[in-house]
Symmetry: D2
Subunit: 367 residues, 4 copies
């Protein structure tokens, strides 16, 4: 029972702190025979990388991944894959103040209370830098999925930043990679850009975001009721990401407002099996995939690392005000997009393997 691990058969353990020598992911349970090279993984790390994107922190880390084990002749062998990323941009500075102070909205105080000590440099283990390891592991999962379920496509995007939401009528799947927000509504981008620049430079503030991640082409029948449900594992996967405060599947929280007549996805027989009139379910019924798009949304709170002063205390209990200087993202939600994709990929692969172990990939006939 590693408490820094996720997954059942595809089991990822992340390790490392923001300002330690390195961080990484120990990936156990990747099937053998999957083509895998560092560039295949690097591609996704580059997407998450700080400094890559004008909208994110300017901390400049190459985030170069090394594969230390589990791969031979550019092919996975079925043994643990160790992925390491060296921390390079560790600016030396005086940590005196931050070592004694708890930033409001940060894990500083709870780590101190639980562990009695903490690595205060850049947030230590509680830093969002940990998610680089998840993105690397997600890259492995994507390559394995290519072999096991070739048609699957996984994509994340921002649907909300602060009070600004996309217009679903303008949703353009193909435009997502064309802007710095991974925003699927191209017309919203200029406004979001102006807002975020103002927020950082003039308002000294930060803002929350909502991310949606979709997995297309996932075969019906994966998911392990009643406590390894596909949606249970997705909820845990997303909620474990730093700063996430809510997770939804399909209709999500809005399901509370619906009636049964409106919510039911009616079923029809299509040429290749069952089809549905709608996807309120978000692709999951009873914890098992229906074959429709799997749709997950999660909310990322605004970072509390802002230039505006907030009241707090020091370890000795005396009051203080905290102003977080340094290179922080005004909207950490942006970089949560590739993280959410990586977690989706890990969960999907895990359940494909699990289903094979449980049922041998048996599928009941329909029609």
């Amino acid at each position: 029972m590693s408490l820094n691990s996720y997954g059942h058969l595809f089991r990822v353990t992340t390790w490392g702190e923001s300002h330690g020598p390195a961080l990484g992911a120990t990936v156990d349970g990747c099937p053998p025979g999957v083509p895998l090279t560092a560039p295949m993984i690097q591609r996704w790390l580059d997407k998450r990388r700080p400094g890559q994107n004008k909208m994110t922190t300017q901390r400049n880390e190459p985030d170069a991944v090394e594969i230390l084990s589990g791969v031979f002749d550019d092919t996975t062998t079925g043994t643990p894959i160790q992925l390491m990323i060296r921390n390079t941009d560790q600016r030396s500075k005086d940590y005196g103040e931050i070592a004694q102070t708890f930033r409001p909205g940060h894990a500083d105080i709870t780590y101190h209370q639980k562990y009695g000590l903490r690595d205060y440099r850049g947030g230590g283990r509680s830093s969002a830098r940990e998610t680089a390891a998840r993105v690397a592991a997600g890259g492995v999962a994507r390559e394995a999925i290519k072999q096991l379920a070739p048609g699957v496509e996984i994509k994340g995007y921002m649907v909300q930043m602060g009070e600004k939401t996309i217009d679903r009528a303008r949703f353009d799947w193909d435009s997502i990679d064309d802007n710095d927000f991974w925003c699927p509504d191209p017309q919203a981008v200029p406004d979001w850009t102006d807002y975020l620049n103002w927020l950082r430079k003039d308002d000294h503030n930060s803002v929350g975001a909502m991310i949606e991640v979709v997995a297309r082409g996932v075969p019906a029948g994966i998911g392990a009721p009643v406590y390894g449900k596909l949606d249970t594992d997705l909820a845990a996967a997303m909620m474990s990401i730093n700063a996430v405060k809510g997770v939804e599947i399909g209709e999500g929280m809005a399901a509370a407002a619906l009636t049964g007549r409106d919510n039911a996805d009616e079923i029809f027989m299509g040429p290749n099996g069952p089809e549905y009139s709608s996807n309120h379910a978000g692709g999951v019924l009873g914890g098992i995939s229906t074959g429709q798009d799997i749709v997950v949304r999660f909310a990322v709170k605004p970072t509390s690392s802002i230039l505006s002063p907030r009241k707090s205390i020091r370890i000795d209990g005396t009051p203080t005000e905290v102003v977080t200087k340094g290179r922080h993202d005004p909207c950490v939600g942006i970089r949560a997009v590739p993280v959410g994709e990586a977690m989706m990929a890990a969960v999907i692969l895990d359940h494909i393997l699990l289903d094979r172990g449980q049922t041998g990939g048996l599928r009941g006939q329909i029609g």
Copy 2:
């Protein structure tokens, strides 16, 4: 890796189907020395029990729990506690039609696709009856918490039913148990009652709901970053409940719309330790409890078992219309209240034990 289990050290495995001989929970990891009797558990089962409440299904099951192991002289021994509930009200009927048809919005079709066969009687394993086992296990957790963290109080209530929401200004903690909805807004109750009666009798429909569960008095410092986080485990716990489509902690999905200045809970030194100006965090920072109220909300979709016809298919692929007769709850969210409480209790106890194992219950000094 049991896929029908939850918890790390306090580990519950539920078993049983809607219309089998019995269902129950195997509860491993309850500490020794906890006073425990069947009536202590029965109290919570009675709260969830069908037929108990005018607003829920009239299926009348006594849901009487038997303790088969793990308790000696009315005290837990530290060995597995087996809790069994016999199914008694299994009306004999012709299952011919339901055996061949998939109800829209139900797990019928995905269970068939995954397993190749299913226990179609009353939904089998996918029935919400499974949650009776969780409620029983939650009763054990509550008694153990009493011994280990005496000040903890756990309470759930409905904050929304369909489009009807409570008025937070009228929130009355003490009135929750006084109505059939566990609604904390007493003035809303008559309207909710009328609406639900109309929905069932006249509209032949059902409706979703939103439940909030609060744990008060939980000590700061429990939670196991970064993948056994308290909020990660709560998200998984709630999402695993039948029909749940979304889970939130504290500010939840609304955190996406906030700025960092508004969202930060400022910290002050109080007479007994740190205090906070607000609780946007919902009592969890970095996956660890702050000592504030732990606040979780989850959305329950409307049941698809309604008298209104919905289009579907049979196993042979032919089209059909499904009308679900029988005794179904028009708002399954009502009975999700004690289930949510039970899951909260299990997670809290589990993390108290886990923290003891991880750190010995060490707490860093402040002030």
Copy 3:
């Protein structure tokens, strides 16, 4: 992490005490579609049952198993299977003395030290009665193996009782079920019978035993290096049985005395794949099955429940002498035979499922 569970994907949790209302096994992860009825399981329980065999305790329990869940139309559904055995022969008696005294060689004292209290009736959870639950679970595993790997045969037998050992030259696989010791050397049986009768009636003593369990026909390639190795899991499975003090695979402890030239099993190409000149390895190389017989041996210590007085202490620390009256087996190793078989079956099935999840049952070509 249930500490009363074994197996990865085929996951068994046993529960229950010697003198509680019932005991049983929660069996999660059995594949769907396996024909299963209570008599299929009962057959193996009858083999282990006290009172069945002249050589074992005369406590007379029917040990009738009930299937409470997970089976529909006499077929497994892929959901948890609950197996319950009611305790019926709980002679009422005065437990005053045993409640205050620790029997030498028993878990009485360590349970007291660990848990602060214990169910002293018949040894409570530490009683060998717990193994009835394992035998029941093993019965399920056997039926699943029949479907997944039809040629597998699993058989256990005694190869040593005290200082009496079988003559391997007279080994007769087909005679094993013909005597009360499951002894494969028919000529040894009369001598063993006389010895055991003398030991119990005249010497007021008990004796240890060595059991060998063989699995034939297991396909090459199952086992999960490097910590879910087939032999690792077999060692854990056997060592977890009450009174077991040692476990061997293949050559076992005797491997310490061999040279590399003698120990190597040479490889030849046979008509259906690789064959070996010998089986020092016991069917496992690098934690993975070779396709040869899997051979495990384990030693069972003599029960300390004997009529001869042994020195001990009471809870209050005062000295005492313990003489264990009642119906105890002079050689508990006899009943360990079906238990060892059951554990072998569970491990084999578990690894067949696991291999499917890991590699999809991929097999590298040879020849």
Copy 4:
């Protein structure tokens, strides 16, 4: 469920191959506040290191450990500790023959059968080099034990090499570190030295060994019945080591030959709690420690990597003879001594933590 991990709360995942860039251990669950530096771990790696000892392989690897995470200011923080050892002595050579051939007694053939491909360089993942990672993790466990249970001492030694056994009458605990065999019988050392030199140089052979590992000063009451028993976990830990074929606790396999009167360890009240007349149990009763020495023995088979030709086949099924050239240990059991110690340390620490989580370290009063 990582299949390359061991431990419940102190959870170690090893990764890496013999000839890859590096290998290591991801150590999750070490308590916070433990002083830890690389030299503290290096000490134990040096003990296992090839080339260190005249009796072992002359492959010369510095085996220098780097701590990449989980430690701050030379103190553990409660987060995952990554230990990395670079592989440096990877002689380039032609692997053509070994890539096509299966060495008898090696995992070559089973890895190929299971995974369809294998990293054949030096045995890949199945190489005993993997145990370096275990030794590093054991070093962490030792430091944590120092804090949590200061009196514990863990020591391993060889009691048998081939047919040569120590004379227990000459057992000298303090002489163990004075010879290259970790042999506790100083008088046996010259004979063992001559034998091993002859075996390697003249006989072109290898030989098995038996190792005993003792933990002194372990408090009574740790161990988690009935499947996380202390002896169950020790059996699994030792059996998972390369080339181990048998594991014993206390009297071990010899318990089969004893009677109950001889085997019972009688109990007396000593000044500091219960004492025992003997230790046939090996310090474990019912899976829980008694407070006596915990005594484990395991047998290591002779390596099959010998200069003497053995018959085998190639991947294409054609017959061949294998002669393993290169620098191989004639008695791999020697280097298994520090590995066995490391596994003992990991299991003991794990159960100290687990007991804390289960019972809060509760201890029933005696006397």
